[in-house]
């Protein structure tokens, strides 16, 4: 029989996925967590709570900046929102300021007072790790991630051909049946959210398309700088040097909101504040529309008059905007956000079960199952460290956020080191122990770490689960409950694995039965 389409696809599927499977697992895991980026950050900075009106918070921030950076060429104010309780401000220092060029930022409360929050990268670290990785130059990371995403796309498409029974076995998930169960888990998680997986992988590539395929820009623009200027026009004018008071912000922001019925306020940029050439650019919140490149209104900074409304976009830009928006899911309200999260968890399990499946299928065919060859052992150990170790390490990151001393030098960086130290430790453990024991032990440790997160929260802050439940603080309650849920889930998996006794296999007579095809 000649190698048909299905066989070659099976080969492609198996090896593309294996080669970058561990990276993809990490990308899926952190990307899924990043759907709750803002909520994780809020949980990791328990010092601040409460809600503030976005307009009030923007006005407070402007007052702060007038005091702090009156000569700055531009301020950026991201007011509070439904998901964020702090105001973030960023400004470019005036050329005359000491310290020079680098932008400064500050975190303010809803009234414009600077707040002392613990030094942490919060959910943003997980979000950035998703495509920038860590401990390596960003540009390399993005190429690596791009290659992985490309492989993922190949793996999805070849997977649909390879796993021929995905539709016949559409509703099948059988537990406790060895290889069959792993295959079921792999198929079910893949098929249930197939549109999501295709969308997320494809749009993921689109988010960094100009990096991966720079030729379209190279052919049409002098350099990428002029391209981005054309794409995101600044509309800022040269400062005239003639002082003029900045128009009150409230009417401007209210004007902007009346332009977008049901809309929300995004970032406001003030260029040349206190100059006759001042401009105020108000962006619509990226949470309002599926497209992520938000609309922008330009106001005169002295008179407060509306100068320009968002131009109509070309089809290509609109498409790009919507694709990036679909990927990041910033538009999603709580219910849809959970659906995104669920699909992401499914994707993580799909990649993880695929990795495990590689070893499960090959174990039976090993010549000497007690002494597998090096490649097999490598995959097996890396699987333990990634599939069981990384989730545990993420829980460790949350715990580090509560336990590291607040005045530690480079505290935010140390939280991240903690994650990688734990992850590395799980690899050492996986290498040092018999593989099955390693699976059970690393997963049990992961379950304990997840269970410890709400516990440590209760011991170190006043915002423990009971308090947040009675207060109706769903960000904190939701976070703690999710941690408990994952603790139970991982714990059950570990228990199941520990109790599992593989059936004694009667050695199969060679050729008596055709080798089980990948199905």
């Amino acid at each position: 029989m000649k190698a048909g389409l299905r066989q070659s696809m099976a080969w492609l599927h198996t090896w593309t996925e294996l080669l970058l499977g561990w990276l993809l697992f990490a990308m899926f895991l952190t990307g899924t967590a990043a759907y709750f980026n803002d909520e994780i950050t809020r949980w990791m900075q328990p010092e601040i709570e409460g809600e503030a009106d976005p307009i009030d918070s923007a006005i407070g921030a402007a007052a702060y900046l007038r005091e702090k950076a009156p000569n700055s060429p531009s301020w950026f104010i991201t007011p509070t929102s439904e998901r964020q309780v702090v105001t973030n401000v960023f400004w470019r220092p005036a050329p005359s300021d000491e310290g020079g060029g680098r932008g400064r930022s500050a975190t303010l409360d809803g009234q414009g007072t600077e707040v002392e929050l613990r030094d942490t990268r919060g959910g943003n670290f997980l979000y950035r790790f998703h495509f920038d990785l860590h401990y390596m130059p960003v540009i390399w990371a993005r190429y690596l991630v791009g290659v992985a995403a490309m492989f993922m796309l190949i793996a999805i498409l070849s997977g649909v051909v390879t796993h021929k029974k995905i539709f016949a076995d559409f509703f099948m998930l059988r537990f406790g049946k060895g290889q069959r169960s792993w295959l079921d888990a792999h198929n079910v998680t893949a098929v249930m959210a197939l549109p999501f997986h295709l969308m997320i992988t494809y749009t993921g590539l689109v988010t960094l398309a100009t990096l991966y395929m720079p030729w379209a820009i190279a052919a049409n623009y002098a350099d990428s700088g002029t391209y981005f200027e054309a794409l995101f026009p600044q509309d800022a004018m040269e400062a005239t040097g003639v002082a003029a008071p900045l128009t009150p912000l409230r009417p401007v922001l209210e004007d902007a909101l009346s332009y977008w019925p049901d809309g929300h306020l995004g970032t406001a940029q003030v260029s040349n504040p206190g100059d006759t050439a001042a401009r105020i650019m108000v962006f619509r919140s990226p949470g309002d529309t599926v497209g992520t490149r938000a609309e922008r209104l330009v106001f005169d900074g002295v008179s407060g008059a509306l100068l320009s409304t968002p131009p109509a976009r070309g089809a290509a830009r609109e498409t790009e905007s919507v694709m990036v928006g679909l990927h990041a899911g910033r538009f999603a309200g709580p219910a849809l956000r959970w659906l995104y999260f669920l699909s992401g968890v499914g994707g993580t399990i799909m990649v993880g079960s695929g990795l495990v499946l590689w070893t499960v299928k090959r174990r039976q065919k090993l010549e000497d199952p007690d002494r597998p060859h090096f490649g097999f052992r490598l995959v097996e150990r890396l699987n333990v460290a990634t599939v069981a170790g990384l989730p545990a390490a993420v829980a460790g990151y949350f715990i580090a956020n509560w336990l590291l001393p607040l005045d530690l030098e480079a505290r935010a960086e140390w939280e991240i080191h903690c994650l990688f130290i734990l992850w590395g430790a799980s690899l050492v453990w996986a290498v040092g122990r018999p593989v099955k024991r390693a699976w059970v032990e690393v997963m049990a440790a992961g379950a304990c770490l997840y269970a410890a997160v709400p516990l440590v929260n209760a011991l170190t802050t006043s915002r423990h689960l009971l308090a947040s439940l009675t207060k109706g603080d769903w960000v904190f309650a939701g976070f703690d409950l999710s941690m408990l849920f994952f603790a139970v889930l991982i714990g059950l998996a570990a228990r199941r694995l520990a109790l599992h006794r593989p059936r004694e296999r009667t050695p199969r007579v060679r050729g008596a039965k055709p080798a089980e095809a990948l199905s």
């Binding site: 559409f170 959210a193 999501f196 849809l336």
Partner: protein, 91 residues
Amino acid sequence: MSHIVGTILSLAGFIALCLAMPRHQRDLLGRALSEGGVCALRLTGFCLLGLSFLQATWSLGWAYGVISWLGYMSLAAWILILLISWRTQRA
């Protein structure tokens, strides 16, 4: 609210599609259905999924509707799969 309705419609659709498959008839009903029954179930299933789509796009608009609908189907299928595997485990 519309999320719940959409998910329930998807779930109902998948239950019908699931029961249209011989293997699940054996597991869940204990008997095989007639040709006509299978056909009717399959039709009902797809219609219900279609209804869930209409409901989502009707109440949330085109852009959000399509995305939400895919989400409902994923969630509904997950619920059904877990229910089935829990039932067959017990049996």
